[in-house]
């Protein structure tokens, strides 16, 4: 029988530990497929962040450095400045990238660091048990917004992709979702493009992936995926917000 699909070589054999219905597994696979596509497994350094995503070192068959909370893009900058011919990517959640790591991501983007950032936005702190994230939706209940997020007190869900797209530095800034097969296919294409930018030395590429956290949302996997479609995508619109095909030179 002909094999039509297989585990990407850039993933290890270890089964994912993620909760049922969590989208991290899909996003891991899409990133691994992009690495495989360009044959990058043996020349890639992953930078793990703090949160559920930290365990990517168990799942990706590449060298990994674990960064302090929020600092992945600074760590990746240091690594890439030395290993210019290698591929360096970070994989960060919304608490990590959009709260404690805001300064680091904005300045890595603004410098146009030739790295790839995968930003998984599930609108909540997963690993610490469901606290409000900067991306938590208005009205969304979390353990620290038990009555729902109120903009008078907590401000609005932050749109990192739009913020970064406003900068001159980045070469590719996009938001995707993995809530349905058609969106998974688009996400696969854009994540691959993001790595292609780095392979071609075109500078900073950033892909936000809207993602479900059924456990901390108190939903079934089906309900959580539907929430991404019905509530998150209307507020966090999908698409490529910025793409530069020619890199600026001094």
């Amino acid at each position: 029988m002909k094999q039509v699909v297989k585990r990407p070589a850039s993933l290890t054999e270890k089964p994912f530990h993620f909760c049922p219905g969590c989208h991290h597994g899909i996003v891991h696979r899409l990133v691994a497929e992009a690495l495989d596509f360009f044959n990058l497994r043996e020349k890639t350094i992953g930078v793990a962040s703090v949160g559920c995503s930290v365990f990517l070192y168990d799942y990706f068959a590449v060298d990994v450095i674990e960064a302090p909370h929020g600092r992945a893009s600074a760590v990746a900058t240091g690594t890439k400045r030395v290993l210019k011919d290698q591929i360096v990517f970070t994989y960060q959640g919304d608490g990590d990238l959009a709260a404690i790591g805001t300064a680091e991501i904005i300045h890595a983007a603004n410098r146009g660091e030739n790295i790839t950032v995968i930003f998984v936005n599930n609108s909540i702190y997963g690993m610490t048990g469901g606290q409000m994230a900067p991306t938590t939706m208005l009205g969304q209940r979390s353990t620290t917004t038990p009555y729902g997020r109120d903009y008078h007190r907590d401000g609005y869900p932050i749109k990192m992709t739009e913020m970064l797209a406003a900068l001159e530095g980045p070469s590719l800034v996009a938001r995707v979702a993995v809530d349905k097969p058609a969106n998974v296919k688009k996400a696969r294409k854009i994540i691959r493009q993001a790595f292609q930018m780095q392979v071609e030395d075109k500078g900073f590429s950033f892909v936000e992936v809207l993602s479900a956290c059924p456990t901390n949302w108190g939903m079934t996997p089906q309900e959580a995926t539907k929430r991404v479609s019905d509530e998150m995508i209307p507020y966090f619109p999908l698409g490529v917000l910025k793409q530069k095909d020619v890199v600026d030179v001094l």
């Binding site: 930290v54 070192y57 990706f60 590449v62 450095i65 600092r71």
Partner: protein, 357 residues
Amino acid sequence: MTALKKVFLKGNEAIALAAINAGCHYYFGYPITPQNEIPEYMAKHLPEVGGEFLQAESEIASINMMLGAAATGVRVMTSSSGPGISLMQEGFSYIAGNELPGVVVNMSRQGPGLGGINATQGDYFQAVKGGGHGDYHLIVLAPHTGQELYDLTIKAFELSEKYRCLTMLLGDAVLGQIKEPINPWKPEITAGDPDRDWLITGAKGRQPRLIKSLFLADGEMEKHNWRLQEKYRQMTANDVMVETRFIEDARLVLVAFGSMARIAKTAIDQAREEGMKVGLIRPITLYPFPAASFKNLSESVSRVLTCEMNTGQMVEDVRLSIDSNIPVDFYGRPGGSVPTPEEIFDRLQQAYAEVEQ
């Protein structure tokens, strides 16, 4: 080692030159007085050797960029002063947990808070006791002249690689700003063994590697911590550095490090001229602390006077190191002032008078 042409440099510039001559081609930093000559020198001269200078958005970013570069095995440095060093403590702790090498310079300034930019030794505790979270240490070197800033910068890279431990040069505005003649030299380079089994390079033809400080499995964390403690034990056994003067027949021993030791030397020379039997112990490694020098004090010593440009920090380590009942006095002034040699001489004279009674 190759001797190079004598130069006349500020202390900060001497550090930067020494780092480049030691093969450090990567520097990440953020401006803060009184250490700005280091990033400025690096920005100008690293491109000449094909290196990378990057001005980060904060000290938090600088230390994490250093972490990312250190993981590849290259020599890398950052520098800052008090407030910036405080911001870096998170990174120091991770670098300790990750067991990565690297050199950091603290040209300390007065605190607490924004404080002032003049010389002080108020960061001693923060430097030698860990500073960030967890049970760890940095190697801390305390130069007291321009030449020593140069020499110890090179030593700092060697020690940090030997133990995979962040090494700090602890100075202050006096040391960073004074211009002195320096005899530069180049060590045998030593850019490190490319076959080190922890380097992050991309997993070409080998198993993937991981640099991490998260240990959740049963017993793993304790094992990791014991391994770190074993390194501290090794460096205490093998790499303590200390300078002593006139201690063989001394009745009174003065203890001081860094700028304070330089002031103390003048006072001690004057005291010796006047017939007082006083000596000096100058810890060069503040961590590991030269405890053995205090355990083995000669029998003539009946009093110890510790002088610091703070209100009493190293004196705690001096007291912990002395087994006998010899009294340990302290003289110091907090950030905001630098004692004169005459002031220290007066203190020596007072203490010596009590010794003679």
